[in-house]
Protein backbone atom coordinates (compact mmCIF):
# COMPACT_ATOMS: atom_id res chain seq x y z
CA UNK A 1 0.00 0.00 0.00
CA UNK A 2 1.39 3.36 -0.98
CA UNK A 3 1.99 6.01 1.63
CA UNK A 4 0.46 9.46 1.42
CA UNK A 5 3.43 11.00 -0.32
CA UNK A 6 3.54 8.38 -3.05
CA UNK A 7 -0.17 8.70 -3.54
CA UNK A 8 0.13 12.47 -3.79
CA UNK A 9 2.91 12.23 -6.31
CA UNK A 10 0.87 9.91 -8.54
CA UNK A 11 -2.26 12.07 -8.27
CA UNK A 12 -0.34 15.19 -9.19
CA UNK A 13 0.73 13.45 -12.37
CA UNK A 14 -2.91 12.89 -13.23
CA UNK A 15 -3.04 9.20 -12.36
CA UNK A 16 -6.76 8.42 -12.19
CA UNK A 17 -6.13 5.10 -10.46
CA UNK A 18 -4.26 6.92 -7.70
CA UNK A 19 -7.19 9.29 -7.31
CA UNK A 20 -9.53 6.37 -6.88
CA UNK A 21 -7.17 4.86 -4.39
CA UNK A 22 -7.25 8.04 -2.33
CA UNK A 23 -11.03 7.99 -2.38
CA UNK A 24 -11.20 4.35 -1.33
CA UNK A 25 -8.73 4.94 1.49
CA UNK A 26 -10.46 7.91 3.06
CA UNK A 27 -14.14 7.58 2.13
CA UNK A 28 -15.06 5.91 5.44
CA UNK A 29 -13.23 8.58 7.39
CA UNK A 30 -14.97 11.30 5.42
CA UNK A 31 -18.37 9.70 6.00
CA UNK A 32 -17.81 9.53 9.76
CA UNK A 33 -17.08 13.25 9.86
CA UNK A 34 -20.11 14.06 7.77
CA UNK A 35 -22.41 11.90 9.89
CA UNK A 36 -21.58 13.95 12.99
CA UNK A 37 -22.88 17.09 11.28
CA UNK A 38 -25.73 15.83 9.11
CA UNK A 39 -28.28 13.30 10.30
CA UNK A 40 -29.47 12.16 6.85
CA UNK A 41 -27.09 9.60 5.25
CA UNK A 42 -27.96 10.50 1.64
CA UNK A 43 -27.12 14.12 2.35
CA UNK A 44 -23.84 13.05 3.92
CA UNK A 45 -22.96 11.02 0.82
CA UNK A 46 -23.61 14.05 -1.40
CA UNK A 47 -21.36 16.16 0.79
CA UNK A 48 -18.62 13.51 0.74
CA UNK A 49 -18.81 13.23 -3.05
CA UNK A 50 -18.58 16.99 -3.41
CA UNK A 51 -15.70 17.05 -0.93
CA UNK A 52 -13.64 14.55 -2.92
CA UNK A 53 -14.14 16.51 -6.12
CA UNK A 54 -12.76 19.55 -4.32
CA UNK A 55 -9.95 17.51 -2.80
CA UNK A 56 -8.85 16.03 -6.13
CA UNK A 57 -9.05 19.30 -8.06
CA UNK A 58 -7.15 21.33 -5.50
CA UNK A 59 -4.70 18.66 -4.34
CA UNK A 60 -1.96 20.36 -6.36
CA UNK A 61 -2.04 23.22 -3.87
CA UNK A 62 -1.71 20.95 -0.83
CA UNK A 63 1.57 21.30 1.01
CA UNK A 64 2.60 17.87 2.29
CA UNK A 65 3.99 18.01 5.82
CA UNK A 66 4.46 14.41 6.79
CA UNK A 67 2.42 11.25 7.17
CA UNK A 68 -1.05 12.10 8.42
CA UNK A 69 -1.10 15.61 7.08
CA UNK A 70 -3.07 14.53 4.02
CA UNK A 71 -5.68 12.81 6.18
CA UNK A 72 -5.97 15.90 8.34
CA UNK A 73 -6.39 18.11 5.25
CA UNK A 74 -9.08 15.84 3.85
CA UNK A 75 -10.87 15.85 7.21
CA UNK A 76 -10.91 19.67 7.31
CA UNK A 77 -12.35 19.92 3.83
CA UNK A 78 -15.12 17.44 4.62
CA UNK A 79 -15.90 19.21 7.92
CA UNK A 80 -16.11 22.57 6.18
CA UNK A 81 -18.38 21.20 3.47
CA UNK A 82 -20.61 19.59 6.08
CA UNK A 83 -20.71 22.79 8.13
CA UNK A 84 -21.70 24.78 5.04
CA UNK A 85 -24.41 22.24 4.23
CA UNK A 86 -25.93 22.53 7.70
CA UNK A 87 -25.68 26.31 7.59
CA UNK A 88 -27.61 26.42 4.31
CA UNK A 89 -30.15 23.72 5.02
CA UNK A 90 -30.88 23.96 8.73
CA UNK A 91 -31.82 26.77 11.06
CA UNK A 92 -29.44 27.21 13.94
CA UNK A 93 -30.80 28.45 17.22
CA UNK A 94 -28.78 29.17 20.29
CA UNK A 95 -30.00 29.55 23.84
CA UNK A 96 -28.28 30.97 26.84
CA UNK A 97 -29.90 28.59 29.28
CA UNK A 98 -27.58 27.69 32.08
CA UNK A 99 -27.36 23.93 32.05
CA UNK A 100 -28.04 21.78 35.09
CA UNK A 101 -25.00 20.01 36.40
CA UNK A 102 -24.98 16.25 36.70
CA UNK A 103 -23.28 14.34 39.43
CA UNK A 104 -22.34 11.27 37.44
CA UNK A 105 -21.63 10.82 33.79
CA UNK A 106 -21.68 7.42 32.14
CA UNK A 107 -18.60 6.31 30.27
CA UNK A 108 -18.62 7.41 26.69
CA UNK A 109 -16.45 4.45 25.70
CA UNK A 110 -19.30 2.02 26.43
CA UNK A 111 -21.28 3.33 23.49
CA UNK A 112 -20.47 2.00 19.99
CA UNK A 113 -18.96 4.72 17.75
CA UNK A 114 -21.75 4.49 15.18
CA UNK A 115 -24.39 4.94 17.88
CA UNK A 116 -22.54 7.83 19.47
CA UNK A 117 -22.14 9.47 16.05
CA UNK A 118 -25.86 9.12 15.44
CA UNK A 119 -26.58 10.63 18.88
CA UNK A 120 -24.42 13.64 18.05
CA UNK A 121 -26.25 14.03 14.73
CA UNK A 122 -29.55 14.11 16.57
CA UNK A 123 -28.57 17.05 18.73
CA UNK A 124 -30.29 20.36 17.96
CA UNK A 125 -28.42 22.14 15.19
CA UNK A 126 -26.80 24.82 17.29
CA UNK A 127 -25.51 22.43 19.94
CA UNK A 128 -24.35 20.00 17.27
CA UNK A 129 -22.29 22.66 15.52
CA UNK A 130 -20.62 23.90 18.69
CA UNK A 131 -19.86 20.38 19.86
CA UNK A 132 -18.32 19.34 16.53
CA UNK A 133 -16.24 22.50 16.26
CA UNK A 134 -14.97 22.29 19.83
CA UNK A 135 -14.45 18.54 20.24
CA UNK A 136 -13.43 17.39 16.75
CA UNK A 137 -12.16 20.56 15.01
CA UNK A 138 -10.38 21.75 18.18
CA UNK A 139 -11.67 25.28 17.81
CA UNK A 140 -11.62 27.64 20.78
CA UNK A 141 -14.83 29.24 21.98
CA UNK A 142 -13.65 32.52 20.49
CA UNK A 143 -13.15 30.89 17.08
CA UNK A 144 -16.53 29.19 17.34
CA UNK A 145 -18.15 32.48 18.28
CA UNK A 146 -16.62 34.14 15.22
CA UNK A 147 -17.62 31.32 12.94
CA UNK A 148 -21.23 31.12 14.14
CA UNK A 149 -21.77 34.77 14.86
CA UNK A 150 -22.48 34.28 18.55
CA UNK A 151 -20.92 35.43 21.78
CA UNK A 152 -18.01 33.54 23.27
CA UNK A 153 -20.03 32.92 26.42
CA UNK A 154 -22.84 31.49 24.30
CA UNK A 155 -20.44 29.03 22.71
CA UNK A 156 -19.41 27.77 26.12
CA UNK A 157 -22.97 27.43 27.33
CA UNK A 158 -24.02 25.71 24.10
CA UNK A 159 -21.27 23.14 24.56
CA UNK A 160 -22.32 22.52 28.12
CA UNK A 161 -25.91 22.05 27.03
CA UNK A 162 -24.82 19.69 24.23
CA UNK A 163 -22.84 17.67 26.72
CA UNK A 164 -25.83 17.49 29.00
CA UNK A 165 -28.18 16.29 26.28
CA UNK A 166 -25.65 13.79 24.96
CA UNK A 167 -25.13 12.45 28.45
CA UNK A 168 -28.87 11.98 28.81
CA UNK A 169 -28.98 10.09 25.48
CA UNK A 170 -26.12 7.84 26.58
CA UNK A 171 -27.77 7.11 29.88
CA UNK A 172 -31.02 6.19 28.15
CA UNK A 173 -29.16 3.95 25.68
CA UNK A 174 -27.34 2.12 28.43
CA UNK A 175 -30.56 1.53 30.32
CA UNK A 176 -32.38 0.24 27.22
CA UNK A 177 -29.62 -2.06 26.16
CA UNK A 178 -28.48 -3.01 29.63
CA UNK A 179 -24.80 -2.56 28.81
Amino acid sequence: MENEQQLLSAINQGDRAAMRQLYERYKGYAMSIGLRYIPEVSDVEDVVQDSFVTILTSIGKFDYRGEGSLKGWIGRIVANKAFDFVKHHERMTFTDVIPDTQDEEPEIERIPPNVLTAMIAKLPTGYRMVLNLYVFEHCSHREIANKLGIKESSSSSQLSRARQILTQMITDYIKRHEI
Binding site: M31, S32, E45, Q49, F52, L116, T117, V135, R163
Partner: protein, 390 residues
Protein backbone atom coordinates in the same frame (compact mmCIF):
# COMPACT_ATOMS: atom_id res chain seq x y z
CA UNK B 1 -15.32 15.94 34.93
CA UNK B 2 -14.00 19.05 33.30
CA UNK B 3 -15.19 20.05 29.89
CA UNK B 4 -11.79 19.68 28.26
CA UNK B 5 -11.35 16.20 29.64
CA UNK B 6 -14.79 15.17 28.48
CA UNK B 7 -14.13 16.57 25.01
CA UNK B 8 -10.84 14.70 24.79
CA UNK B 9 -12.46 11.42 25.68
CA UNK B 10 -15.23 11.93 23.15
CA UNK B 11 -12.70 12.81 20.46
CA UNK B 12 -10.50 9.84 21.19
CA UNK B 13 -13.46 7.50 21.07
CA UNK B 14 -14.62 8.64 17.66
CA UNK B 15 -11.47 9.79 15.85
CA UNK B 16 -10.78 6.41 14.22
CA UNK B 17 -14.38 5.65 13.40
CA UNK B 18 -15.10 4.95 9.73
CA UNK B 19 -18.47 4.35 8.09
CA UNK B 20 -18.76 3.16 4.53
CA UNK B 21 -21.17 4.97 2.23
CA UNK B 22 -24.25 3.04 1.17
CA UNK B 23 -23.45 3.54 -2.55
CA UNK B 24 -20.35 3.91 -4.72
CA UNK B 25 -19.61 7.60 -4.93
CA UNK B 26 -16.64 7.25 -7.28
CA UNK B 27 -18.71 7.38 -10.47
CA UNK B 28 -20.14 10.73 -9.51
CA UNK B 29 -16.72 12.01 -8.47
CA UNK B 30 -15.12 10.91 -11.74
CA UNK B 31 -17.93 12.44 -13.79
CA UNK B 32 -17.47 15.77 -11.99
CA UNK B 33 -13.70 15.66 -12.56
CA UNK B 34 -14.19 14.98 -16.27
CA UNK B 35 -16.74 17.80 -16.51
CA UNK B 36 -14.38 20.24 -14.81
CA UNK B 37 -11.50 19.19 -17.04
CA UNK B 38 -13.62 19.74 -20.16
CA UNK B 39 -14.77 23.07 -18.81
CA UNK B 40 -11.21 24.23 -18.23
CA UNK B 41 -10.17 23.22 -21.75
CA UNK B 42 -13.30 24.79 -23.15
CA UNK B 43 -12.57 27.96 -21.19
CA UNK B 44 -9.03 28.19 -22.52
CA UNK B 45 -10.19 27.42 -26.05
CA UNK B 46 -12.99 29.96 -25.75
CA UNK B 47 -10.54 32.60 -24.57
CA UNK B 48 -8.31 31.92 -27.54
CA UNK B 49 -11.24 32.06 -29.93
CA UNK B 50 -12.42 35.30 -28.38
CA UNK B 51 -8.94 36.81 -28.72
CA UNK B 52 -8.73 35.69 -32.32
CA UNK B 53 -12.22 37.06 -32.98
CA UNK B 54 -11.27 40.39 -31.41
CA UNK B 55 -8.14 40.66 -33.56
CA UNK B 56 -10.06 39.72 -36.70
CA UNK B 57 -12.80 42.16 -35.77
CA UNK B 58 -10.30 44.99 -35.39
CA UNK B 59 -8.68 44.10 -38.70
CA UNK B 60 -11.99 43.86 -40.54
CA UNK B 61 -13.29 46.98 -38.85
CA UNK B 62 -10.22 48.90 -39.88
CA UNK B 63 -10.42 47.47 -43.38
CA UNK B 64 -14.10 48.38 -43.56
CA UNK B 65 -13.35 51.95 -42.53
CA UNK B 66 -10.54 52.17 -45.02
CA UNK B 67 -12.68 50.61 -47.76
CA UNK B 68 -15.47 53.10 -47.18
CA UNK B 69 -13.02 55.98 -47.22
CA UNK B 70 -12.09 55.60 -50.88
CA UNK B 71 -13.40 58.77 -52.53
CA UNK B 72 -11.10 59.41 -55.46
CA UNK B 73 -11.61 56.99 -58.29
CA UNK B 74 -15.41 56.89 -58.42
CA UNK B 75 -15.65 60.70 -58.47
CA UNK B 76 -13.17 61.01 -61.31
CA UNK B 77 -15.07 58.43 -63.28
CA UNK B 78 -18.28 60.26 -62.50
CA UNK B 79 -16.86 63.53 -63.81
CA UNK B 80 -15.95 61.88 -67.09
CA UNK B 81 -19.35 60.31 -67.39
CA UNK B 82 -21.05 63.63 -66.64
CA UNK B 83 -19.04 65.46 -69.26
CA UNK B 84 -19.58 63.01 -72.07
CA UNK B 85 -22.89 61.35 -71.45
CA UNK B 86 -25.21 63.67 -69.58
CA UNK B 87 -25.10 67.16 -71.00
CA UNK B 88 -28.58 68.07 -69.87
CA UNK B 89 -27.83 67.82 -66.20
CA UNK B 90 -26.23 71.20 -65.96
CA UNK B 91 -26.46 73.08 -62.70
CA UNK B 92 -29.47 75.37 -62.86
CA UNK B 93 -27.82 78.03 -60.75
CA UNK B 94 -25.21 78.74 -63.35
CA UNK B 95 -27.76 78.96 -66.12
CA UNK B 96 -29.70 81.61 -64.26
CA UNK B 97 -26.78 83.99 -64.65
CA UNK B 98 -26.71 83.59 -68.39
CA UNK B 99 -28.99 85.67 -70.57
CA UNK B 100 -31.30 83.22 -72.26
CA UNK B 101 -30.62 83.30 -75.93
CA UNK B 102 -31.47 80.73 -78.46
CA UNK B 103 -28.18 81.21 -80.20
CA UNK B 104 -26.04 80.52 -77.24
CA UNK B 105 -27.87 77.56 -75.76
CA UNK B 106 -25.13 75.27 -76.87
CA UNK B 107 -22.58 77.55 -75.34
CA UNK B 108 -24.59 77.66 -72.12
CA UNK B 109 -24.59 73.93 -71.99
CA UNK B 110 -20.87 73.88 -72.57
CA UNK B 111 -20.31 76.38 -69.77
CA UNK B 112 -22.53 74.34 -67.53
CA UNK B 113 -20.50 71.29 -68.33
CA UNK B 114 -17.35 73.23 -67.56
CA UNK B 115 -18.76 74.29 -64.24
CA UNK B 116 -19.76 70.76 -63.43
CA UNK B 117 -16.32 69.50 -64.28
CA UNK B 118 -14.67 72.27 -62.31
CA UNK B 119 -16.85 71.54 -59.34
CA UNK B 120 -15.88 67.92 -59.50
CA UNK B 121 -12.25 68.90 -59.80
CA UNK B 122 -12.39 71.07 -56.71
CA UNK B 123 -14.09 68.28 -54.83
CA UNK B 124 -11.32 65.94 -55.79
CA UNK B 125 -8.61 68.45 -54.94
CA UNK B 126 -10.04 69.33 -51.54
CA UNK B 127 -10.97 65.95 -50.24
CA UNK B 128 -8.43 63.59 -51.69
CA UNK B 129 -5.27 65.19 -50.26
CA UNK B 130 -3.41 63.62 -53.08
CA UNK B 131 0.12 64.48 -54.10
CA UNK B 132 0.33 67.25 -56.61
CA UNK B 133 1.02 65.08 -59.60
CA UNK B 134 -2.26 63.27 -59.13
CA UNK B 135 -4.24 66.42 -58.49
CA UNK B 136 -2.87 68.04 -61.57
CA UNK B 137 -4.47 65.51 -63.87
CA UNK B 138 -8.05 66.54 -63.24
CA UNK B 139 -6.89 70.14 -63.22
CA UNK B 140 -5.44 69.76 -66.62
CA UNK B 141 -8.57 68.11 -67.83
CA UNK B 142 -10.62 70.87 -66.32
CA UNK B 143 -8.63 73.53 -68.11
CA UNK B 144 -9.50 72.05 -71.45
CA UNK B 145 -13.19 72.85 -71.10
CA UNK B 146 -12.14 76.25 -69.82
CA UNK B 147 -10.19 76.99 -72.94
CA UNK B 148 -13.07 75.78 -75.10
CA UNK B 149 -15.53 77.89 -73.14
CA UNK B 150 -13.44 80.98 -73.53
CA UNK B 151 -13.78 81.04 -77.30
CA UNK B 152 -17.43 81.99 -77.59
CA UNK B 153 -17.05 84.67 -74.97
CA UNK B 154 -16.10 87.20 -77.60
CA UNK B 155 -19.65 87.50 -78.84
CA UNK B 156 -21.81 86.66 -75.92
CA UNK B 157 -21.79 87.85 -72.39
CA UNK B 158 -20.78 85.02 -70.21
CA UNK B 159 -21.11 84.91 -66.49
CA UNK B 160 -18.10 85.48 -64.42
CA UNK B 161 -17.39 81.94 -63.65
CA UNK B 162 -14.82 81.47 -61.08
CA UNK B 163 -12.92 78.26 -61.41
CA UNK B 164 -11.15 77.67 -58.22
CA UNK B 165 -7.74 76.44 -59.13
CA UNK B 166 -6.02 73.78 -57.16
CA UNK B 167 -3.09 76.20 -56.77
CA UNK B 168 -5.16 78.54 -54.60
CA UNK B 169 -5.53 77.95 -50.93
CA UNK B 170 -9.08 76.88 -50.37
CA UNK B 171 -11.05 77.52 -47.25
CA UNK B 172 -13.20 74.67 -46.08
CA UNK B 173 -16.83 74.90 -46.93
CA UNK B 174 -18.49 72.93 -44.24
CA UNK B 175 -21.72 72.45 -46.08
CA UNK B 176 -19.96 71.12 -49.15
CA UNK B 177 -17.72 68.76 -47.36
CA UNK B 178 -20.52 67.28 -45.49
CA UNK B 179 -21.20 65.28 -48.60
CA UNK B 180 -17.77 64.24 -49.55
CA UNK B 181 -16.14 62.87 -46.64
CA UNK B 182 -12.89 61.05 -46.38
CA UNK B 183 -13.20 59.20 -43.13
CA UNK B 184 -9.62 58.71 -42.20
CA UNK B 185 -8.18 56.91 -39.28
CA UNK B 186 -4.91 58.46 -38.31
CA UNK B 187 -2.12 57.39 -36.08
CA UNK B 188 0.72 59.53 -34.89
CA UNK B 189 3.94 59.61 -32.96
CA UNK B 190 4.98 62.81 -31.30
CA UNK B 191 7.35 64.52 -28.96
CA UNK B 192 6.48 67.56 -26.95
CA UNK B 193 8.25 70.10 -24.87
CA UNK B 194 7.26 73.32 -23.15
CA UNK B 195 8.55 76.56 -24.48
CA UNK B 196 9.17 78.39 -21.24
CA UNK B 197 12.57 78.96 -19.73
CA UNK B 198 14.62 75.84 -19.43
CA UNK B 199 14.81 76.31 -15.70
CA UNK B 200 12.59 78.12 -13.37
CA UNK B 201 14.24 79.19 -10.22
CA UNK B 202 12.78 80.78 -7.21
CA UNK B 203 13.64 81.05 -3.59
CA UNK B 204 11.17 79.35 -1.37
CA UNK B 205 11.16 79.69 2.32
CA UNK B 206 9.98 76.91 4.56
CA UNK B 207 9.56 74.31 1.84
CA UNK B 208 7.67 71.54 3.66
CA UNK B 209 9.60 68.85 1.81
CA UNK B 210 12.86 70.04 3.22
CA UNK B 211 11.55 71.23 6.55
CA UNK B 212 11.91 67.87 8.26
CA UNK B 213 15.51 67.67 7.17
CA UNK B 214 16.15 71.18 8.39
CA UNK B 215 14.60 70.42 11.70
CA UNK B 216 16.60 67.25 12.03
CA UNK B 217 19.82 69.03 11.38
CA UNK B 218 18.80 71.87 13.70
CA UNK B 219 19.77 74.41 11.05
CA UNK B 220 19.10 78.02 11.88
CA UNK B 221 16.72 79.81 9.56
CA UNK B 222 18.96 82.84 9.32
CA UNK B 223 21.08 82.87 6.14
CA UNK B 224 18.95 80.05 4.85
CA UNK B 225 17.52 79.80 1.36
CA UNK B 226 15.72 77.19 -0.66
CA UNK B 227 15.63 77.12 -4.41
CA UNK B 228 13.58 75.09 -6.88
CA UNK B 229 14.59 74.46 -10.42
CA UNK B 230 12.05 72.76 -12.69
CA UNK B 231 13.12 71.53 -16.10
CA UNK B 232 10.59 71.63 -18.85
CA UNK B 233 8.64 68.40 -19.18
CA UNK B 234 9.34 66.29 -22.21
CA UNK B 235 6.67 64.05 -23.68
CA UNK B 236 6.59 61.27 -26.21
CA UNK B 237 3.41 59.73 -27.38
CA UNK B 238 1.34 57.76 -29.75
CA UNK B 239 -1.97 59.09 -30.96
CA UNK B 240 -4.86 57.69 -32.90
CA UNK B 241 -7.36 59.91 -34.64
CA UNK B 242 -10.88 59.09 -35.64
CA UNK B 243 -12.77 61.39 -38.01
CA UNK B 244 -16.20 62.52 -36.90
CA UNK B 245 -17.04 64.27 -40.13
CA UNK B 246 -15.21 65.92 -42.98
CA UNK B 247 -13.53 68.57 -40.87
CA UNK B 248 -13.70 67.34 -37.27
CA UNK B 249 -11.85 64.45 -35.77
CA UNK B 250 -11.31 63.03 -32.34
CA UNK B 251 -7.93 61.81 -31.21
CA UNK B 252 -6.60 60.01 -28.22
CA UNK B 253 -3.61 57.90 -27.36
CA UNK B 254 -0.88 57.43 -24.81
CA UNK B 255 1.69 59.97 -23.69
CA UNK B 256 4.79 59.46 -21.62
CA UNK B 257 6.04 62.57 -19.82
CA UNK B 258 9.16 63.01 -17.77
CA UNK B 259 9.71 66.00 -15.56
CA UNK B 260 12.90 66.72 -13.63
CA UNK B 261 13.33 69.16 -10.77
CA UNK B 262 16.13 70.12 -8.43
CA UNK B 263 15.58 71.44 -4.94
CA UNK B 264 18.52 73.17 -3.33
CA UNK B 265 18.85 74.13 0.29
CA UNK B 266 21.46 76.79 0.78
CA UNK B 267 22.97 77.28 4.16
CA UNK B 268 26.18 78.97 5.25
CA UNK B 269 29.05 76.80 4.09
CA UNK B 270 26.68 74.01 3.12
CA UNK B 271 24.34 73.03 0.34
CA UNK B 272 21.90 70.15 0.04
CA UNK B 273 20.56 69.18 -3.35
CA UNK B 274 17.64 66.89 -4.01
CA UNK B 275 16.93 65.73 -7.53
CA UNK B 276 13.40 64.72 -8.36
CA UNK B 277 12.30 62.78 -11.41
CA UNK B 278 8.63 62.22 -12.14
CA UNK B 279 7.38 59.84 -14.79
CA UNK B 280 3.82 60.16 -16.06
CA UNK B 281 1.64 58.17 -18.38
CA UNK B 282 -1.21 60.19 -19.80
CA UNK B 283 -4.26 59.75 -21.94
CA UNK B 284 -5.18 62.76 -24.05
CA UNK B 285 -8.54 63.43 -25.65
CA UNK B 286 -8.51 66.10 -28.34
CA UNK B 287 -10.84 67.51 -30.91
CA UNK B 288 -9.27 68.61 -34.18
CA UNK B 289 -10.84 71.02 -36.61
CA UNK B 290 -9.25 71.15 -40.05
CA UNK B 291 -9.07 74.67 -41.41
CA UNK B 292 -7.02 74.75 -44.54
CA UNK B 293 -5.29 72.59 -47.05
CA UNK B 294 -2.85 73.68 -49.67
CA UNK B 295 -0.23 71.81 -51.58
CA UNK B 296 0.11 69.08 -49.04
CA UNK B 297 0.17 71.47 -46.13
CA UNK B 298 -2.74 71.54 -43.77
CA UNK B 299 -3.57 73.82 -40.90
CA UNK B 300 -5.86 72.86 -38.09
CA UNK B 301 -6.91 73.66 -34.55
CA UNK B 302 -6.71 71.22 -31.67
CA UNK B 303 -8.28 71.49 -28.23
CA UNK B 304 -8.71 68.97 -25.49
CA UNK B 305 -7.82 67.59 -22.12
CA UNK B 306 -5.33 65.12 -20.78
CA UNK B 307 -5.10 63.01 -17.65
CA UNK B 308 -1.62 62.01 -16.48
CA UNK B 309 -0.84 59.36 -13.91
CA UNK B 310 2.42 59.53 -12.03
CA UNK B 311 3.69 56.00 -12.43
CA UNK B 312 7.10 56.53 -10.90
CA UNK B 313 8.63 59.10 -8.61
CA UNK B 314 12.36 59.18 -7.95
CA UNK B 315 14.20 61.24 -5.43
CA UNK B 316 17.93 61.47 -4.89
CA UNK B 317 19.52 63.60 -2.19
CA UNK B 318 23.23 64.09 -2.39
CA UNK B 319 23.65 60.83 -4.27
CA UNK B 320 21.37 58.78 -2.00
CA UNK B 321 18.12 57.42 -3.44
CA UNK B 322 15.09 58.01 -1.28
CA UNK B 323 11.54 56.75 -1.21
CA UNK B 324 9.14 59.34 -2.52
CA UNK B 325 5.36 59.49 -2.69
CA UNK B 326 3.88 59.56 -6.13
CA UNK B 327 2.06 62.60 -7.37
CA UNK B 328 -1.72 62.61 -7.69
CA UNK B 329 -3.40 62.45 -11.05
CA UNK B 330 -2.63 65.54 -13.11
CA UNK B 331 -5.33 67.04 -15.30
CA UNK B 332 -4.57 69.57 -17.98
CA UNK B 333 -6.40 71.34 -20.76
CA UNK B 334 -4.93 72.90 -23.83
CA UNK B 335 -5.28 74.16 -27.32
CA UNK B 336 -2.93 74.48 -30.23
CA UNK B 337 -2.64 75.48 -33.82
CA UNK B 338 -1.35 72.66 -35.94
CA UNK B 339 0.66 72.71 -39.10
CA UNK B 340 1.16 69.47 -40.98
CA UNK B 341 3.20 68.72 -44.06
CA UNK B 342 2.42 65.58 -45.98
CA UNK B 343 5.71 63.98 -46.91
CA UNK B 344 3.85 61.27 -48.71
CA UNK B 345 0.07 60.82 -48.68
CA UNK B 346 0.30 58.34 -45.86
CA UNK B 347 2.79 60.23 -43.72
CA UNK B 348 2.82 63.75 -42.47
CA UNK B 349 5.12 65.72 -40.24
CA UNK B 350 3.37 68.10 -37.91
CA UNK B 351 4.05 70.83 -35.42
CA UNK B 352 1.51 72.03 -32.89
CA UNK B 353 2.49 75.10 -30.94
CA UNK B 354 -0.04 75.77 -28.24
CA UNK B 355 -0.97 76.60 -24.70
CA UNK B 356 -1.54 74.13 -21.91
CA UNK B 357 -2.92 74.73 -18.44
CA UNK B 358 -2.20 72.24 -15.66
CA UNK B 359 -4.79 72.10 -12.92
CA UNK B 360 -3.70 72.07 -9.32
CA UNK B 361 -4.14 68.52 -8.10
CA UNK B 362 -3.70 69.48 -4.48
CA UNK B 363 -0.67 67.29 -3.89
CA UNK B 364 2.37 68.36 -1.93
CA UNK B 365 4.72 67.40 -4.73
CA UNK B 366 6.31 70.48 -6.22
CA UNK B 367 6.94 70.27 -9.91
CA UNK B 368 6.82 72.24 -13.13
CA UNK B 369 3.05 71.88 -13.42
CA UNK B 370 2.52 73.67 -10.11
CA UNK B 371 5.19 76.23 -10.70
CA UNK B 372 4.02 77.18 -14.16
CA UNK B 373 0.46 75.97 -14.51
CA UNK B 374 -0.07 77.80 -17.79
CA UNK B 375 2.62 77.55 -20.38
CA UNK B 376 3.31 77.41 -24.05
CA UNK B 377 4.29 74.11 -25.49
CA UNK B 378 5.34 72.67 -28.80
CA UNK B 379 4.42 69.23 -29.99
CA UNK B 380 6.23 67.69 -32.95
CA UNK B 381 5.23 64.43 -34.44
CA UNK B 382 4.63 62.05 -37.26
CA UNK B 383 1.14 61.16 -38.28
CA UNK B 384 0.26 58.04 -40.24
CA UNK B 385 -2.77 58.07 -42.46
CA UNK B 386 -4.08 54.53 -42.37
CA UNK B 387 -6.21 55.18 -45.42
CA UNK B 388 -3.65 54.93 -48.19
CA UNK B 389 -5.09 55.99 -51.53
CA UNK B 390 -4.66 53.70 -54.53
Amino acid sequence: MKQEEWAERLNNHLKDYHQEPTRDLWEGIEASLDKQAKGAVHHIAMRRWLMAAAIIGVLFGGAYLMWNNEPVQPQVAQVKATNHADKEEAPVATQADITPDADVKAQEKLVAQVLTAAKAVTQIAETAMLPENVVSEPTEKATQPDETANKPKEDTPSPQVHHPLSAEPKAYSHAKHHQQKPMRLTMGLFAQGNTNDMNNKNAVMMNPQLLHRVAASRAFLADYEEQESHNQPISFGLSVGYPLNSWLSLSSGLVYTRQNSTFTTLMPNHQIQRHQKLHYIGVPLNLQAHLLQWHGISIYLTAGAQADWNIKAESNTDGVNQVMDKDRMQWSVGGSLGLAYHIIPQLSLYAEPGVRHYMDNGSTINNYFKDKPTSFNLQLGLRFDLNSPK
